[in-house]
């Protein structure tokens, strides 16, 4: 009985191993789909057709490039390896996103700096306009009138003294 179960376990293990191996062979040999190719192609630009990403370009040159991507994917290359290959062959300008080094930093920094500078300038401008508006604002006429109708401190003091005197004399 024990021997039978050992043989059974051995067979099961062999079957699992065979399935695993078959699986890996299928994965390696499977052809990349158009979506797989376009996922890489969309990150590349062919210098011949400026401003058109490789996945959307219909020229013969771009078709050849997509063919290369398909071949490399079928060989098991990663996205980064393929992009590195294209950079080595055709230069940095094939990349949709220039690598963050050297002069390329300008591409990333200039828009951000321009935005920050713009916000700062606008803020300073608004502040100046507000100050100027406050300085130019004329005194509130209704307040002036109110102030003039209010009795002065001297007058109130005199009235209060008189009232006190009257109350004393009435007692």
């Amino acid at each position: 009985m024990k021997r039978m179960s050992r043989v059974f376990l051995g067979l099961i293990s062999l079957l699992v191993l065979m399935l695993a191996l078959t699986g890996s062979v299928l994965a390696q040999g499977s052809d990349p789909t158009d979506d797989d190719v376009n996922a890489v192609a969309s990150q590349l630009y062919c210098p011949v057709c400026e401003n058109i990403p490789l996945d959307a370009c219909g020229t013969a040159a771009c078709e050849q490039w997509r063919g290369i991507i398909r071949e490399k994917l079928a060989e098991g290359w990663t996205e980064d390896q393929i992009k590195d290959y294209f950079v080595a062959q055709y230069g940095d300008r094939v990349l949709a996103e220039p690598p963050r080094q050297g002069f390329n930093w300008l591409v990333y920094l200039v828009p951000a700096l321009a935005l920050i500078g713009g916000v700062v300038l606008l803020g300073l401008g608004f502040q100046k306009w507000r100050q100027a508006a406050v300085e130019r604002k004329p005194a509130d006429p209704s307040r002036k009138a109110k102030e003039s109708s209010e009795p002065s401190d001297d007058y109130i003091r005199k009235v209060e003294e008189e009232l006190k005197e009257r109350s004393r004399s009435s007692k």
Binding site: A61, Q89, G117
Partner: protein, 169 residues
Amino acid sequence: MKKILLWGGLLLLLVVLGVGLYRSQQGQVGVGEPAPDFELQSFSGETYRIADYQGNVVVVNFWASWCESCKPEARDLEAAYQSYRARGDVLFLGVDYVDTEPEALEYLEEFQITYPNGPDLRTEISQAFRIRGVPETFVIDKNGQIAHLQIGPFQSLDHILSVIDPLLD
């Protein structure tokens, strides 16, 4: 201080943009200008450095396998190369622009081209010559200056010979 920084930054940005615009508007390296120095590694592995060929006439042809208008001149260029080959003072170099190697090799085989050809790695050679498209051919005289710029294909073998012959006298 703030104002100086602001105006300095703005000026720098304008200079960078101006230089970029100027460079993009520049045409090809023109006739009479010195030819840019470059190194070409051929498909068969040899390296050609243009500075090593002072005293020779050098024909630099930019082409690509996907370029239909390159095909009519391909055989004529090979024929011209063959006609000067024995002299030894005319170098033909084919620079394969933005191409894929298998198709490029097929092209060379189809047109039976035997003079040295190699890929324009990182498009450095085409950028140095500031080409606008293919085919374009630069004929460099014995002093290293551009003697002829052919935009588009040569019309015939005679056309090519008529450009090179005067440079050999």
